[in-house]
Symmetry: C2
Subunit: 218 residues, 2 copies
Amino acid sequence: MKIQLALDRFTVPQAIEIADEVRMYIDWIEVGTSLIKEFGMESVRELRKAFPEKIIVADIKTFDNAKYEFEMCFNAGADIATVMGAAPMVSIDTCINVARNMGKQVMIDLLNISSEQLQDLCKYEDAIFCLHISKDMQELTGIKQELKSLKVPNALRKIENVRLALAGGINLEFLNELGKNNAEVAIIGSSITKAEDKVLSARSISEAASKIKGGEQI
Amino acid sequence: MKIQLALDRFTVPQAIEIADEVRMYIDWIEVGTSLIKEFGMESVRELRKAFPEKIIVADIKTFDNAKYEFEMCFNAGADIATVMGAAPMVSIDTCINVARNMGKQVMIDLLNISSEQLQDLCKYEDAIFCLHISKDMQELTGIKQELKSLKVPNALRKIENVRLALAGGINLEFLNELGKNNAEVAIIGSSITKAEDKVLSARSISEAASKIKGGEQI
């Protein structure tokens, strides 16, 4: 399983410094929604420049204006951009098409969607599906309780070689449990970025993740 | 009815120049989602500085991380910030609370929500509800056809003195028709910003809007 380091609520220089510290233990770097909304595409460009060897995920959470936003992310150097599964299908369609045309990838954030919406999304077999416990939900209910209830819906399991990412306060303790879901990517934020010893935390998580089978598509 | 000028797909200096040209014919200025995602909070700060007398709407389309994003917008000078109605209720709750604490307003974007979600949102009686035809939908189906089908749901009509905003390719031709909905705000983008004669277009729209009764809450 790969590690996607989620960088949120930092300045761009802070984000670069943290990612650089744990560089050898992470696979993908997520330019968090808060970085994009606070600093714009400059955040994506700077992280792209600082980490030319990494997969850069722009967590832009597109809901409309899909072509403009996705081209903006990919032109700024992102390899993957995110769209909300709750967005209108016309927008998600557009994201998929822009990504295919530019040789890039789409991550669909499944936060707060209905089972009917999920069913509709399953046609995007080449997308990465992100099962997501929101920051606000984590703060409301406590992380551990929510993570335990994180299950991959049957609709997604039916997709052959489905690409899954898991997000939402994931720490070392739950990494193995989550591994049972056969996810390609674990999205980790504060368990690394807020750790007293970031390198130690990243190394432990990386070692645990390396023992978990996951997709190898990218 | 008030006019909210939506500024999207421009640089910040372009946005300021356009808004300044039509300054006397508009009431609220929307820092579009594309400006925020491309240039960050700098876009809100610059428009706030250039238009101290206007209501500034930050169309941040929050879906998570609500406290951080809303405080960021209000601290940058916005009077109103937007949250997606499709977001988890815990996040919308947080937006409402942050706005109340800071003496600011929330606009709830009703794009792509279910009737159950709308029912739940009706408890936020002091929010501004934005009925929204998305940019991507406009481009797919043609603006006129979609605008004709824009109806205020009964659930919203039941709220006493409900505050309504309408968005989605609104032009002069449809302004009067939309006026029947008793909206407080018409959100106008390209009908002004892409007009050959922006001042003429803004003046005509402003004159038509001034004859339509709407809310006066802000």
